[in-house]
Amino acid sequence: MANDREILREIWEGKLPVCFQLDPNEVSELQQPDPFFLMVPRLSYFPLVTDKVRKHFSRYVDPEKQEQEMWLEYDGQPVKWHFPIGVVFDLYVGSDIQLPWNITVHFDKFPESQIFRFSTKEIVEAHFMACIKEADFLKHRGQVVSSMQKKDHNQLWVGLQNDKFDQFWAVNRKLMEAPSDQDHFKYIPFRLYMDDGYKQKLIKPITEDGRRKTLHDLITEIFPNQPNVKIRTHGMVPPMETPIQWMSEHLSYPDNFLHLCLQV
């Protein structure tokens, strides 16, 4: 049960100051556009918050290219828009935090091989719901999400979109409950990001003798030979003795996954 409201609220309120700037090469007007500042929620997705960004910059771009799909780039790497914003930040920026986060806006030369196209709200919603279902399969064999009505699914999405904590958690808490005959999930839904991809593994939240597993146990199971790795999530490094059942309940992103970035 995710009943530590203080932690849940802190996680929910996480925000990042972003400074968007248009790629100077794409500016077709005489005047350089001003950078666009925005405070974005860590838990949301870029396509949901960048409408104003697009509106701001599109008129500085060659009219033919104005209708093209906008894409973002940080430090030479295209931003994977289907990751939550906080995950992108932890992954790309890591511990070398320099705020504001400077992101470059592009309209041209969409890097098809590196990121997906069609970052519309509907696609993001579909991806979000797919993650929730996958997480529920791991936690409850899918029973909770399939017993929910369409309006509950919708409420999760709307709650996330409009930054409404209570609306979101009214439904999400059902997904965060342990199944009726146990007090922990079946498996912990998580993604461990490293290099250019992520690892997923079936990890149970308790050991054979009933002890709750900690973050340290999880790392040991995935990297048996590397004990000293640092994990970053939500912009902080959680202690190794944190139980992963608790982490899954409280530190998951709205898509119900724990997104852990391996810090080198």
Binding site: M1, D4, E6, E177, M236
Partner: protein, 962 residues
């Protein structure tokens, strides 16, 4: 698996049962006896009553228990007389058993107890091995032991015929008292009872073993207990080793008996086999730890569980019931294993499933995970099932909040309630055939084929305590089955008055005893009894890792402060809600609902409610959220409605009708949310609050603290009214009356050409009935009337339309064309009036100054300011904002210290726990919200009238009302 039953006793001694195919605890009908302990095997329940006597309950058998008594009437042929009942001295009895050894005089064959009834009289058996006999039923033989034939042979010297009479156990589904050991039941009361042995290897099917312990430290074994004789025959004493004081006893399905001793050890009965059902000897077993004493032990088939004095649970390993009769080791086991859990008692069923009652929380627990391979199981699971309770039960009034009536439709009345009445009436019809005490059974007369037994006093009942007597009424098997059927829905149109009703409730009953002996649960298919309450993890607020995480998260926030000027991506501070609804704006005083679009727009700190016409083009009405003083549900049947009160803005009350309850709740939530934001209401209402309930039972609270604090100046409450620019006559409401200590100050300017001006302190109008019509009569406490022409100030009062005596002295200090100030001070018994700072006059009260409700200023005067200073807060009731709290009550009472009590419609008392939110506000802003149920009866009477043509119909003659 067919359904079986779990039994338990609650803290009031009432026995309840839960079926594996059901989900509700049902109480066995209470017939005056409370029970302390019980022991069960399928269909047979043995219990220790509150009077320390043993009672038995047979239930759920489809086929009645019937025993056929036989008696052979023997006759011998002698010359001259023929067959006669005079037999040789060496012959068998005249009425005998089949082999002649037992005397079976029909007049001596009696019912074993009150619980049996004869089914008919003695009758002749008219067939012999399928062949019909003559109508006298005689069969013939050479001699008594020989073969009998239907036809008389020339060699037949004897004949016999078989009389049969069957008796039926008639105390099915009711409690039956078992004979005490002595005539006076209190001489040696029982302290424990146990039934088991329904699975003794090789024994006759239907064998049961009953063991008991008496207060004189004797262990008793009941002989002859079987399916055909459920009460058994008699008690025999079983010797125990010297020095052993038996405390409690338990019999398992294979007949294995364990007893716990007062000194904490246990005794095991060795040698229980089909030939020696009561075993042979005892073996002593030590308790698990030297210092903890066994207080309770329960035997299954291959499992024995015990509870020690410290509420610790232990499992005895090495017990194998099947071999226990022959092997001492298999009976006694080999060691104790400690189990997790604190229980006050445990009960093991035939298939070794274990039940227990929690030592601290008195909840029934089930040991999950018990299998053949792992007899100790995995963990205890709490059993929560709702319960059928009688209103009369004291538990019921403790737990009103969990009650809910199941009467959404007539069909859902629990079956058992209505049927008890029918059972009682049928029983009374049968009572004439009830057997009386055996001693009064008269000798039957042989008249032809039948015996007729004349019963003396057929309606007399022996007292409850006599042997075999049936406690309470016998429920008719067809009608009372419902107790044993799960969730049966039956048609019933019989209603009980409120006192007798049984209701369904999800009570947290305290259980004292659980008995799993009759419950054959398949552990892999658990019934839906286990509603796991959300076990809150021990809140790990103090764990270092959590604190560290919290700290890191908070640090993030600090680093954002530099960028606070960045606009947020998601704008959460402005939003709009709109939906279609119907509105009644009370135009021209007509209650008509028209279609509209209701729109609520919230911008940062304030909101606007707009009512648009259906195509959104024109605005019908608009007001700000600050104008709302109350949002109240005023639904009627089928019309979900919301009333929004804006007392200062006509129409003062706007009603909205929605298409569904959920839409109503949605809007209620929105409006309450914005009102709360605007009035900065959050959290618990202050102690000195006003509480109100609406006719629909909703609870509202209001307080005057903000108003008071804004009015308070130097310990008086000041209300300042700016009258500049107002046209006379001006009427100023005086909300708090003119209690002694009140000051009224008026500054203004008199016109040049003034004739007379007046300041009236008015009271309520009284209405008097005069000649069948009401007339309005005015009351004025003080009529202050400066007349400039006459140079006087007339002071007077009007009492019910009539003027009193004028007071005219003092002159006229006010000059026309000049400014003036007037001060009226309300002293203890008079008005003290100052003009321009100087005392002018006094005026004794003729009407109570407390009741002044308004001040009227008239005449050619330009008033500037009116000030009211009152020792009490000046509250305009229309200004109060009413905030809704979750709940449903009929009446509510509060006091100055904030303690608030209420009574619901179902007569339950409630006390306010200083929470807020609740009901539809839900998770948005709730605190300390607990569930509450209230029920209100709506009774619908269907009337019918009898008429000679069609009997009872609902269409009647014109004068009847249906």
């Amino acid at each position: 698996m067919p359904s079986s039953l779990l039994f338990s006793i609650n803290n009031e001694g009432r026995v309840h049962t839960l079926s594996t195919s059901g989900s509700l605890w049902r109480e066995l009908p209470y017939v005056g006896q409370a029970f302390k302990k019980l022991s069960a095997i399928p269909h047979f329940l043995w219990a220790l009553g509150g009077d320390h006597q043993v009672y038995m309950y047979v239930h759920g058998l489809d086929i009645p228990i019937r025993v056929c008594e036989e008696s052979y009437e023997n006759e011998r042929w002698i010359p001259i007389e023929g067959f006669t009942s005079r037999l040789l001295p060496t012959d068998r009895y005249r009425y005998s058993s089949a082999d002649g050894t037992v005397d079976r005089s029909t007049d001596k064959i009696r019912l074993p107890s009150m619980a049996w009834q004869w089914e008919g009289d003695w009758q002749l058996e008219l067939t012999l091995m399928g062949q019909p006999l003559d109508h006298n039923g005689w069969t013939y033989a050479v001699d008594f032991p020989s073969q009998y034939y239907p036809k008389k042979q020339w060699s037949s010297c004897v004949r016999r015929r078989l009389w049969v009479r069957s008796r039926r156990y008639s105390a099915m589904n009711s409690w039956c008292a078992i004979a005490p050991l002595h005539k006076d039941a209190t001489t040696e009361p029982f302290i424990d009872i146990s039934v088991g042995g329904n699975n003794v290897i090789g024994a006759d099917p239907g064998t049961m073993l009953v063991w008991a312990v008496t207060s004189h430290n004797r262990v008793m074994f009941r002989t002859g207990v079987s399916c055909k004789s459920p009460e058994g025959a008699k008690w025999i004493s079983v010797l125990v080793p010297p020095g052993c004081e038996i405390n409690q006893i338990s019999v398992g399905a294979t007949g294995l008996v364990w007893a716990s001793l007062l000194d904490g050890r246990a005794l095991v009965r060795i040698g229980v086999t089909r030939d020696a059902l009561s075993g042979e000897s005892w073996v002593e077993i030590r308790g698990p730890l030297d210092k903890s004493r066994i207080v309770h032990v329960s035997v299954g088939t291959c499992a024995v569980w015990a509870v020690t004095q410290d509420k610790q649970v232990w499992f005895r390993k090495g017990v194998k019931g099947e071999g226990a009769g022959i092997s001492e080791e298999l009976a006694a086991g080999s060691g104790w294993v400690e189990m997790v859990g604190r229980m006050s008692m445990v009960s093991v069923s035939e298939n070794d499933q274990v039940w227990g009652v929690g030592a601290d929380d008195r909840v029934v627990y089930f040991r999950a995970g018990v299998t053949l391979a792992d007899l100790t199981g995995k963990r205890w699971r709490a059993l929560h099932a709702p319960q059928q309770v009688s209103r009369a039960s004291s538990n019921a009034s403790l737990n009103r909040d969990k009650f809910h009536r199941s009467c959404n439709s007539l069909n859902q009345r629990p079956h058992s309630i209505s049927e008890i009445t029918t059972g009682i009436s049928e029983w009374e019809e049968q009572s004439h055939s009830a057997p009386t005490a055996p001693t009064s059974l008269p000798v039957g007369e042989t008249t032809g084929k039948h015996f007729e037994t004349q019963l003396k006093n057929p309606k007399a009942w022996s007292p409850v305590r006599s042997v075999g007597s049936v406690v309470g009424t016998e429920a008719h098997p067809e009608t009372d089955d419902s107790i044993w059927q799960a969730d049966d829905l039956g048609n019933s149109s019989i209603f009980y008055t409120e006192d007798e009703e049984l209701c369904w409730a999800e009570l947290e009953t305290s259980w004292g005893w659980v008995e799993g002996g009759a419950c054959l649960l398949d552990p892999s298919q658990l019934p839906n009894w286990f509603i796991e309450s959300n076990t809150l993890h021990q809140v790990e607020l103090e764990q270092p890792w959590r604190l560290q995480i919290l700290d890191s998260l908070k640090k993030r926030l600090l680093s954002m402060e530099l960028y606070a000027h960045y606009p947020t991506a998601v704008d959460t501070t402005s939003w709009m809600q709109a939906s279609e609804a119907r509105v009644c704006l009370n135009i021209a005083n007509s209650i008509v609902f028209v279609e509209c679009i209701l729109q609520l727009e919230w911008v940062h700190t304030n909101g606007v409610v707009t009512v648009l016409n259906p195509d959104g083009a024109a605005t019908m009405h608009q007001f700000s959220v600050t104008d709302i003083t109350c949002v109240q549900c005023c639904s009627e049947l089928g019309c979900p409605r919301l009333a929004v009160h804006t007392p200062h803005l006509p129409p003062y009350c706007i009603k909205f009708q929605f298409s569904s309850d959920s839409q109503l709740e949605e809007w209620q939530t929105h409006l309450i949310f914005v009102c709360g934001q605007v009035h900065s209401i959050a959290g618990k209402p202050p102690e000195q609050s006003l509480w109100a309930v609406t006719t629909l039972g909703d609870i509202f609270v209001s307080d005057t603290l903000t108003v008071e604090s804004s009015q308070l100046q130097d310990s008086v409450y000041v209300q300042e009214i700016d009258l500049a620019g107002k046209e006379v006559p001006v009427s100023i409401p005086v909300h708090s009356g003119c209690v002694p200590g009140t000051e009224l100050l008026l500054t203004g300017c008199v016109a040049d050409d003034v004739d007379r001006i007046g300041i009236n302190l008015d009271l309520h109008i009284t209405y008097k009935l005069r000649h069948k019509a009401y007339s309005e009569l005015e009351n004025t406490a003080l009529h202050f009337n400066p007349r400039f022409i006459d140079d006087i100030i007339v002071r007077n009062s009007m009492i019910e339309g009539k003027w009193g005596e004028e007071e005219r002295d003092g002159g006229l200090p006010i000059k026309s064309g000049q400014e003036f100030s007037l001060r009226i001070l309300c002293a203890a018994d008079e008005f003290v009036i100052d003009i321009n700072g100087k005392k002018y006059c006094t005026y004794k009260y003729r009407l109570s100054s407390h009741s002044v409700i308004s001040v009227l200023i008239w005449g050619k005067i330009r008033p500037f300011k009116f000030l009211i200073k009152n020792p009490f807060p000046i509250i305009n009731p229309c200004d109060l904002f009413w905030r809704q709290l979750g709940g449903h009550l009929r009446r509510i009472e509060s006091c100055a210290s904030g303690v608030t009590w209420g009574i619901g419609y179902d007569h339950t008392g409630w006390v306010y726990n200083y929470g807020w939110g609740g009901s539809f506000i839900g998770s948005l802003d709730s605190y300390n919200v607990n569930p509450m149920t209230d029920s209100r009866d709506y009774r619908l009477y269907e009337n019918q009238r009898w008429n000679p043509v069609s009997g009872y119909t609902s269409t009647g003659i014109l004068t009847s009302v249906s």
